[in-house]
């Protein structure tokens, strides 16, 4: 039985791509953020860590904004149920992202150690909370939450904090942490690079265990075996093990964590399809993509826009990474005058 249209599937795929792009890109931003006080000790080192993501983190975050906008445009009922339902969780994510964003800008603008320490903790904490809660949120979306006959969420913040979802949060947290540590060992030199490698070697095995545990739990939760989702889960598991097994080869390890994030979320999205929101109250109350979708005309318009613009975006964002491909080095500014102040 097929109760969805081609355009609805295209938009489900596109929204999946946007979320996955967001997690692959901002995933290492979160990791770098969480590690900024751990792998960098001096002011110059911490500046170098910030510079490793400086030119790109904002562009990476736009993937989230576009994912949100695309959900609103293509599946307004999904957007409405999800955003009003996960109300306080999203509020916490927003506060974390706001603090982290302004901290990037404010960090170098003060003269005292205290000032910088405060904003460093905002970056560490903001990255930590966001990396954890995105996993919690997606685990809940896939597993289902209490939703009534009108498509309204009937739980609270604490309904979302069930064990399965918390493991999902730990999975994204550890995976992003490993992803960021490996990113730093690719993008920095000297002491920072050494420490990042050491962190990666310690965190990646933990991430492998947690992610595999989460994926296994996800598969057990499924009614029967969803073959495609299971295959993706296995690929993600292999990749995250590979990342842990390659501490000396950061380029390959980075490809492995990126791939692990991609396949982890493909497995989740495949599990979710053809629903947008799963109701644990009554399966009949689940919101399907077909029920959630905009009209055929709106989806057609948005498809044209996406087909034209997404390749262009990939092109110039890729170019940015090429321009800033050189490793960043911690430099004590000449003359003792800190350059960032």
């Amino acid at each position: 039985m097929r109760d969805y249209t081609t355009l609805q599937v295209i938009w489900f795929l596109l929204i999946s791509v946007l979320w996955i792009g967001y997690f692959v890109l901002e995933g290492f931003d979160f990791g770098v953020g969480m590690l900024m006080r751990t792998v960098a000790r001096t002011q110059a080192e911490r500046r170098a860590v910030l510079h490793s993501i400086g030119p790109v983190w904002d562009g990476n975050e736009v993937w989230l904004i576009v994912a949100g906008g695309a959900t609103f445009a293509a599946f307004p009922q999904w957007y409405a149920t999800l955003f009003s339902g996960f109300y306080l969780a999203l509020f916490l994510i927003l506060v974390a992202l706001i603090l982290r964003n302004v901290a990037f800008e404010f960090w170098g603008k003060g003269d005292t150690e205290r000032w910088r320490t405060r904003w460093e903790w905002a970056i560490v904490g903001g990255s930590f909370v966001a990396a954890l809660l995105w996993g919690v949120a997606w685990a809940n979306i896939v597993h289902g939450v209490p939703i009534d006959a009108h498509g309204e969420y009937t739980g609270t913040l604490f309904t979302l904090l069930k064990p399965y979802a918390l493991v999902g949060g730990l999975a994204t947290l550890t995976l992003f942490l490993a992803h960021g540590a490996i990113f730093l060992s690719l993008r920095t030199t000297g002491e920072i690079e050494h420490r990042s490698r050491a962190v990666a070697a310690r965190v990646a095995p933990i991430a492998a265990v947690v992610v595999i545990g989460f994926l296994a739990w996800t598969l057990i939760n499924q009614d029967g075996i969803e073959v495609f989702s299971a295959i993706c889960a296995i690929v993600a598991a292999v990749l995250v093990v590979a990342a842990a097994a390659l501490p000396g080869r950061p380029a390959r390890a980075f490809a492995a964590t990126s791939g692990a994030i991609v396949f982890l979320f493909v497995a989740l999205f495949a599990d979710l399809f053809p629903n947008a929101m799963v109701s644990t109250t009554n399966p009949a109350y689940s919101l399907t993509l077909n029920e959630a979708a905009s009209s055929h005309y709106t989806l057609s318009v948005m498809t044209v826009v996406a087909v034209v613009l997404v390749p262009v975006v990939l092109l110039y964002q890729g170019w940015t990474y090429w321009v800033f491909r050189k490793r960043v080095t911690a430099r004590e500014p000449a003359g003792g005058q800190p350059a960032g102040t």
Binding site: R47, H51, G54, P55, V56, D58, G59, E61, V62, I65, V66, G68, G69, A70, T71, F72, A73, A74, F75, P76, Y79, A80, L82, F83, S84, G85, Y87, L88, L90, F91, L94, V95, L97, I98, N101, V102, F104, E105, F106, K109, H150, E152, T154, S294, S295, Y297, T298, V301, M302, V305, L309, V310, V313, Y316, Q317, V323, F324, P333, A339, G340
Partner: protein
């Protein structure tokens, strides 16, 4: 307070706060791109130093704008889920387009611009500055198209009780959107013009860096004068358009209660502070002027609030269809008053600058510094007018605001986020304000240092 009222306060607070940074970012992006072009063409170092100095202020504003912008997109779903369900087929499209077409360009090329000094060829680097400026304008266009659809819905048909998009071009080229866009861009240029004027004047009064600030203020004052002048025309025709599309808003702005021919322009009026006080206690007006401005004839007919109310009750059912008249009346006047003052300052200053008498007058320079508050009052009252004046509608004629909030969100939850965002935004305002003033006071990098290798860091972190 009910969760609806709390959600409305939250939308008002977060949106007005966000809009402190929007016009600064748009305006300064154009100022920076212009200064950098002057440097690129002439090689004069003071234009480079000006670019980098205004660039630092742009980045502070941009950071706050981006951070608070995510809330804007999320809160439609969080606090206004019934609204989102109702309008999603239409309203989501310009939002998604804004992200795809504008935000990606803006953020990516800003990163390239900040970190690209000395790394990118100069021409490419300059192109990045213009890409940022252009994309800020593009993003304004899309979001104003979305807002304009709430003011004047077009390009849809009703289907199962919800509007369904029938023509995207009607939405994107809505007459309301085109006026709103030009109006907002001029406001952004006015904001940047006044800000550059004020900061330059502060430095000129102290005699610091005459080359950078003398050049900047001579750019900014004529910009203010021209943008202010054009704003009068745009505002005038926008007002006429609004009289057709949202007569209740304009009747409230002018506090005209009974339909009449030869209506006067009210300068000062007092009435009860409630949705519709049905009349005024005091009113000072210029006879026939309102009719003349609105219709082109001194005896032209102006629709009154009470008459429109009766008409709407017949059309939409019983209820109150007037906004809080006092708010609409006074925000409208505050906005126009500030615009007039800005235009006068710009025109007078440009005239002084032409006669070479700019730096001489400490009094005029002091006036310029204090003028910095004007564009912000104008923008904030302007938005309060536009949005409050549309009430009780959230989408004019289609959905009332009280039907749009989230059924699944409790009053306590809205209260938590309202208090949370307000405290967070307040703290950020203090920090960002201090950094902004500090950076503005410190002035540009010393002469001869702007092109040192590795100096790109100064603009970054």
């Amino acid at each position: 307070m009910t969760s609806l009222e709390l959600a409305r306060w939250q939308f008002g607070i977060t949106t007005l706060y966000h809009f402190i940074f929007v016009p600064v970012t748009i305006g300064l992006a154009f100022v920076c791109a212009y200064c950098q072009t002057r440097w690129y063409r002439s090689g004069e170092e003071h234009w480079l130093r000006a670019t980098r100095f205004w660039g630092k202020l742009l980045l502070i504003s941009f950071a706050l704008g981006v951070a608070t912008g995510i809330v804007q997109e999320f809160q439609f779903g969080m606090n206004w889920s019934d609204y989102s369900r109702f309008v999603g087929d239409i309203f989501g499209a310009p939002l998604a387009m804004e992200g795809l077409a504008a935000f990606f360009v803006e953020s990516t090329f800003l990163g390239l611009w900040i970190f690209g000094w000395g790394r990118l060829p100069k021409g490419v680097h300059l192109a990045c500055a213009w890409a940022v400026a252009g994309s800020t304008a593009l993003s304004a266009y899309f979001i104003l198209a979305a807002n304009s659809w709430m003011q004047h819905p077009v390009g849809y048909e009703m289907h199962n009780g919800r509007p369904r998009l029938t023509n995207i071009f009607d939405v994107l080229f809505n007459s309301t959107a085109i006026y709103a866009f030009v109006h907002t861009m001029l406001a952004a240029l006015l904001t940047a013009g006044i800000l550059v004027t004020a900061i330059s004047a502060w430095h000129l009064r102290r005699g610091t860096d005459g080359a950078v600030f003398g050049g900047s203020i001579r750019l900014a004052l004529p910009l203010v004068a021209v943008a202010g002048f054009l704003q009068f025309f745009v505002g005038h025709f926008d007002g006429i358009l609004m009289t057709h599309q949202q007569p209740m808003k304009m009747a409230s702005a002018d506090a005209v209660f009974e339909t009449k021919e030869g209506a006067g322009l009210s300068l000062f009026a007092i009435g009860d502070f409630k949705s519709n006080p049905e009349g005024l206690k005091r009113n000072v007006e210029v006879p026939n002027l309102l009719s003349y401005i609105t219709t082109g004839y001194p005896r032209g007919e102006i629709q009154g609030i009470n008459n429109i109310n009766a008409e709407y009750r017949a059309k939409y059912g019983p209820g109150e269809y007037a906004p809080v008249v006092a708010v609409v009346y006074w925000t409208w006047r505050a906005m126009i008053g500030c615009a007039v003052l800005m235009f006068l300052l710009g025109a007078y200053g440009a005239w002084r600058a032409r006669r070479g008498k700019l730096e001489g007058s400490r009094r005029f320079l002091t006036l310029c510094v204090w003028a910095a508050v004007l564009p912000f009052i104008a923008s904030l009252t302007g938005w309060a007018f536009t949005e409050m004046g549309r009430q009780p509608w959230v989408v004019f004629g289609l959905m009332k605001t009280h039907d749009g909030d989230s059924p699944s969100v409790s009053t306590a939850e809205v209260l938590i986020t309202l208090v949370g965002f307000t405290l967070l935004y307040g703290a950020l305002a203090v920090v960002a304000g201090r950094i902004f003033f500090k950076t503005a006071r410190k002035g540009p990098d010393a002469e001869g240092t702007a092109e040192e290798p590795g100096k790109e860091l100064a603009l970054a972190y």
